[in-house]
Symmetry: D2
Subunit: 364 residues, 4 copies
Amino acid sequence: MKRLLIATGGGDCPGLNAVIRAVVHRASQEKDWEVLGSIQAFNGVLWEPTEIVPLDNKAVSGIHFQGGTIIETTNKGGPFAWPVKNGDGTWTTVDRSDDMIRKLQYLNIDAVINIGGDGSQRISNKLYEKGLNIIGVPKTIDNDLSSTDSTFGFQTAVQVATEAVDKLVTTAASHNRVFFLEVMGRDAGWIALNAAVAGGAEVCLIPEIPYDINKVKEALEQRFHRDRGFAVVVVAEGAFPKGGMPVFEQPKEPGYENRMLGGIARKLMTDLKEKGFKPEMRETVLGHLQRGGVPVAYDRVLSAQFGVKAFEMVLNQEYGKMVAYRHPEFVAVPLSEAVAKPNLVSMNNALVKTALGLGICLGT
Amino acid sequence: MKRLLIATGGGDCPGLNAVIRAVVHRASQEKDWEVLGSIQAFNGVLWEPTEIVPLDNKAVSGIHFQGGTIIETTNKGGPFAWPVKNGDGTWTTVDRSDDMIRKLQYLNIDAVINIGGDGSQRISNKLYEKGLNIIGVPKTIDNDLSSTDSTFGFQTAVQVATEAVDKLVTTAASHNRVFFLEVMGRDAGWIALNAAVAGGAEVCLIPEIPYDINKVKEALEQRFHRDRGFAVVVVAEGAFPKGGMPVFEQPKEPGYENRMLGGIARKLMTDLKEKGFKPEMRETVLGHLQRGGVPVAYDRVLSAQFGVKAFEMVLNQEYGKMVAYRHPEFVAVPLSEAVAKPNLVSMNNALVKTALGLGICLGT
Amino acid sequence: MKRLLIATGGGDCPGLNAVIRAVVHRASQEKDWEVLGSIQAFNGVLWEPTEIVPLDNKAVSGIHFQGGTIIETTNKGGPFAWPVKNGDGTWTTVDRSDDMIRKLQYLNIDAVINIGGDGSQRISNKLYEKGLNIIGVPKTIDNDLSSTDSTFGFQTAVQVATEAVDKLVTTAASHNRVFFLEVMGRDAGWIALNAAVAGGAEVCLIPEIPYDINKVKEALEQRFHRDRGFAVVVVAEGAFPKGGMPVFEQPKEPGYENRMLGGIARKLMTDLKEKGFKPEMRETVLGHLQRGGVPVAYDRVLSAQFGVKAFEMVLNQEYGKMVAYRHPEFVAVPLSEAVAKPNLVSMNNALVKTALGLGICLGT
Amino acid sequence: MKRLLIATGGGDCPGLNAVIRAVVHRASQEKDWEVLGSIQAFNGVLWEPTEIVPLDNKAVSGIHFQGGTIIETTNKGGPFAWPVKNGDGTWTTVDRSDDMIRKLQYLNIDAVINIGGDGSQRISNKLYEKGLNIIGVPKTIDNDLSSTDSTFGFQTAVQVATEAVDKLVTTAASHNRVFFLEVMGRDAGWIALNAAVAGGAEVCLIPEIPYDINKVKEALEQRFHRDRGFAVVVVAEGAFPKGGMPVFEQPKEPGYENRMLGGIARKLMTDLKEKGFKPEMRETVLGHLQRGGVPVAYDRVLSAQFGVKAFEMVLNQEYGKMVAYRHPEFVAVPLSEAVAKPNLVSMNNALVKTALGLGICLGT
């Protein structure tokens, strides 16, 4: 029997379980492969004792419509930065990658599929350079990878954000208010831009296009006549004013550790008020609601495609590569290139032109 | 022709439009009635010029599955507290109720249906005492009226909150975290309690049962073993510790004006951390997402029942009364009694016993 | 240790799993009780070997938001009508109730909770009369029990049917068509009536009110002007014309065994066409989509209440009884009375008055 | 002022309204354009009197999240096949295209955007050849156009079908049944294939791959062990056995005019039973539920892109062309080519390989 190990790293994302299920189902059609899962990324391998679970068709039954990942995930630890306590009680990190590779050999692991974001794929690449038979599956809910047409989880986040816009619109209209909906996107504004177009927002602010608060005010005021009217503003958490910096990069107020609770929406409200903007304003920070729950069908299909392709790359021994979608094919791209160039919104992107064409103010 | 005027006051609530549509449809079956809507509660009557719109079957077509209210709503103004500017630039309020009744007579209004919360129904009652033919339809998304078995909007809010729990559970489990979901409920914990039971939360904190932070910590720690495990805490915005007071009654941090962005979830996280609670914690404040969007079928049916009954009370001239649901009948109760006694959660309520029976910690 | 056995019988219904979970969670708080589940109603007890599974908190983790029942269900077999093959190859049934009671004693079962419809509760009652410590939990998606204010699964079915009306309305309006939506309800029209009111249908036909096809035609024609207009008709599968009989009681066309695929919608279309009705007509039979999937929050709460109450009836040894909801309490009613009187729609029900008040044609 | 006319033809499709709104919003940013809508495709132009409605931003407010089309649609009539009654009462069709072009000139229409399927675009092309300034927007819920990466409405249909699979799975598992879900797709199996992969079906039958009933039986029997087990089969309405023909092309049973009520699911059940397949089977025909309701965010974004691009093609006078999506750009392709080659499922398509990789039986 050959043994495949799967790990999921980084923030969770709708579709992770559907990828796992697809790998397991595909592997079950080969007589000589069995699949294992490492708990909490590679920590399950590194812990003593290890935490590694068998993954057969029964173990993955019905998980494709569950959010999250049944083998858990984490941003902490990993083979290149394992935390150890110094004698004086402080913490440092050590490189345990050789140790991990030895443990995988001991466990008779023939190949590894690592599902995760660019942090995880950088680890994949370094492990590949150390000789590990590893294949990457990209995971970024922000859809900010230029090496693949799309990534799973993104459409689910857009759907959740769009439904939030739909809900806020009726309240905004009934109360003559401006609603600020803060969505995910520290560096990339795709979720915000898609939700603004799908939901029919009046203003959309994203990290790639620093905004001018006066332009925002002007756009909103046009929607109000004698204090009547309403508007919805969709703002990515990483949006910032021209010459400014994102809220989450600024020093935190004490006790404020959860960046999901945003700040840019509140900042916009404060700044608009200071500038004399009259209508009532309210904010909603979507936060973790965008990551959880049942993936939309689009993401479930994409995840299945990624999972099956990843296992076939194992069969073909295309190690050191990552699965990518290049419509209408699924291809293998080198890990080294794969995470090299982010896919950010640019002013000449078709969706930007569409947003402007619909009359959505992008803050410029 | 006889003329009926409808107004909606207070915060918006899923089902308002379905009530309006039901009144209009029912009235359209009487040959001699026409229906008008006053924009922004009674302000549409008080403004110069008035803003009053005709409401026929075409005007209300398809509105039953829209959130909000097509005739808008507000918490400001009203006949008994109309804002006027003093000579020195400060504001005061005046009683314009006689003025309003005169205007209604001038407009040939024969009856009024006022859809709104207890503030609105107190206004209804005072107008009734001044001789106005007025009927109330209760609106409280918190379901905190003892005079009626249930009110519209509540089930929709519970559904939205429950779906949020469902989403957070998968992320909590994948990351071994505790999620705090802050939901509506300043005085009444019904939404929190229902969502906690429906969603399978581990802890539920409500205003009626001041919590002991040590009990909360203990309950959560039982869920975690060597930093593994997960939990969801549903907390009503008005929850507070034994001997404390609700966050929203405390002095606000500067610039903090939108109470929907809560604070109790954050306070819980801070307090637990201070007490040495180890697992990662995250918060989500549901806010306005609970008020907006398509009402669930239950609320649409309830709204239709309220609307039809309200118009029939007009036909029967049961003025000074409010429609109420006493399963399986819809009845008329005096406005004076209707808002007298709130319906709060008590320890011997069946749902409290069920929550405890499921093992949900209520903070005690 | 004491042992409780749970079984689910009859057609599946959203909320069954939430009842099971609630019983198990409640039981886990007593030190001396363990819970088992019999697979496929009582067949799991009757089979050789038995199929009985342990149900602890882990086994029921997350099942409250799953449709169906993890211990499976069936309409076949059971203690009083166990199928046996005769020597000539024909089948007959035998009474194995004594056998079953003996097996339960042998298995050290102290009490049984039987979740099921009136067929199941009749079995419960007969087993109780034979001395079994049994408690019933009512299950009828049609909400047709007079002994309880509501039953789980019903609101989910109404929600699914209402969303179907919402979908059909936009197509109907775009194409100037009449859509017939056939929903569950062989004897009781509650699902149809609620969905028609919630969805804003023009016509609603139910078993309790035999329809006059001419009245239906007239109501629909009023909606059309020079072949423009549209309408949605919600019809319960058991609806029938005055002097006629339900389609599902008529002799079947050969090979037609699945009554969920209806027939009354098609019959209405054929009959209207014969009478010269001009507009285009289309049908949709909702079928099993009404039974499956995630229960709405309302049903999940109701199921939890039923489950916790049922276990407390076990603790109190209130055997031979069934849990029932009498707002705002959950009570125990004798099994013998519980299924005695169905809850059917009558002309003076509040919802019928509301439907007529909205202008919905009920076929009369 | 210049005048743009929009028409929608063929079956309705989620996203039509979002295209209309996008065209209108984009046009409103040009000072010199106004937009009109022709009711029921081009019939609004051809009727006497005409039925043409003004479309400004207010008229299209909020329509992007409504299914259907506010300017109605039809499959009947049109400029090249206008029905006229002969003297003997029979009907024939006449070419009124010259008449229509004259009327458009008289109405001062400068350009036309025609949103519709291949029938509609063939009409667009013939009108273009007669000199009309016309631009096409493709509409096919089946996603079967090779000239564009995707079309709006398709993802919504896939989502609806996938949610139906999710619902049927829990019932199938609870009752140990096989469920047959019949979805749209007379010639193209994309909806079925996507829903089967997203929903985790066991069998998927599509028109492009004629099935072998013995292979279907075998695949299903593998899922059942001693009559336990369950399965979901997703079948496109146009699927047919090797050597056979689609049900909808066969002579109809009398009175059977609505092909949406399928037949292939029922045929499969009958044929399997005849071959001795034992487990219980049930069918659900999704029908019009796939076409209606709120479009998913993906389709709303795609529709907005199509609408804005279409108007920009008007500005650029790129007449005789159709908008198409070639990731990541939106381009103009000649109408003549655009509908030339359908996009059908082929055995070497990535999704087919994925389906097989997941272990889904495709009937071969």
